[in-house]
């Protein structure tokens, strides 16, 4: 979707505010939200669906509220969507129904267990597939002009542009479909673009931008 989250190259956001950059969490609630996101039971969602739910936050809230607030907002929305929470419960600040069974009580985990758990979070998103890659390293490609109307990882600033395959990373879960609940692996590439291909003011700059893009985002360039 062409949402407020698609910030690459957008202008007008002003200077970078580095306030508190050496603090891990600036306020206690930020740590609580971080922790909830690590260990709460969730209704079978994918990372892409969660990201899409965050993208759907009202633009003014997305911009004006603190970062971890958007995580809480996203969590609420996924639990509501799944029927695990209701607006009434949120308004009341307490659970109003006990008829749903979410499984065994959760044991408290200690620091060492968390360090092991963090290790277990080293998820891989790639897999072997039968289809050979359509592009080879060094090949020129152009990107699709249209993004997916739902979740997509082809940002607006890199649409309809010509770049070059920098690397092939095997087949990774395709996010546009994963956000809809379909897990399909597709070849993933790093694609490098000259800055001048992307930005009007970069004509005489030799900088480059690298993006990781799935095969469905790419087209061969016929010269």
């Amino acid at each position: 979707m062409d949402g407020i989250h698609d910030l690459g190259g957008k202008q007008g956001y002003g200077p970078i505010d580095r306030t508190g950059e050496d603090e891990v969490f600036h306020e206690e609630w930020e740590g609580r939200e971080w922790g909830i996101a690590q260990c709460a039971r969730t209704p079978g969602i994918t990372i892409d669906w969660w990201r899409h739910c965050r993208e759907l936050i009202l633009p003014e809230d997305y911009l004006a509220r603190p970062y971890f607030d958007s995580w809480a907002q996203t969590d609420f929305s996924t639990y509501i969507e799944a029927g695990w929470m209701t607006y009434e419960e949120i308004a009341a600040g307490k659970s109003l129904r006990q008829d749903l069974d979410y499984g065994e009580p959760l044991e408290a985990m200690n620091l060492q267990q968390i360090l092991d758990e963090d290790r277990a979070h080293a998820f891989r998103f790639d897999a072997e597939i039968d289809t050979p890659p359509a592009f080879v390293v060094g090949q020129q490609v152009s990107t699709q002009r249209h993004g997916h109307g739902g979740h997509t990882r082809l940002p607006q600033y890199a649409r309809g542009r010509v770049g070059k395959i920098h690397a092939h990373h095997g087949a990774h879960v395709f996010p546009d479909w994963s956000a809809e609940g379909r897990e399909v692996h597709q070849h993933l590439y790093s694609v490098v673009f000259d800055a001048s291909e992307l930005w009007p003011e970069a004509a005489d700059r030799h900088d480059r931008v690298y993006l990781d893009l799935w095969e469905a985002y790419l087209l061969p360039v016929t010269t």
Binding site: G9, C39, H52, L56, D69, Q73, E81, D207
Partner: protein, 212 residues
Amino acid sequence: MPEFDAKKVAEAHQHLHSHLPSESALRVKTLETLLEQKGLVNPATIDAWVEAYTEEIGPRRGAQVVARAWVDPAFKARLLEDAPAAIDEFGFLGKATAHLKVVENTDSVHNLVVCTLCSCYPFSILGIAPAWYKAAAYRSRAVRDPRGVLAEFGVEIGDEVEVRTWDSTAELRYLVLPQRPPATEDLDEEGLAALVTRNSMIGTDRDLGGSA
């Protein structure tokens, strides 16, 4: 089970915009309370996650990896070839580093990492991302105006240096391998690691202060 119904989620956001307290702390408190009452979270486990990412997992991990790469060419080669395996030699493999890639700064190349679409970050090796990394100003500008961004961080990049911005659009995560500062021959690995800043591994810092 969820149906992944985006319309329902958009409506939830609109509803919550008007019906949740405006203070973030209160909102998160409400979330935690509901989850605990429903048996969906154990607050003590939240405590442990906060402790892990405050005390144990953070940019000192990345700094150790960088220092090792500076002193051990074979390790550096492994790191550039297969970063997840290399950081696992330290036991640092974990959240969001299974597809880690290391990109190396040189005299003629400077690397900068961003996630323009959300806030992807190699957690198990750098810890929690700084607020600016997740904010609109950095996310919007790092791809378009990397030299302006770097200047705000006090980093001046000569015209002869190519700036490469890595936008983390997939599950790959990027770690910048900064250059070893000059005149650090007499420092050991631990001394070198102390020179490595978190920002230098994101790319918003370049010349590490070894010569002082």
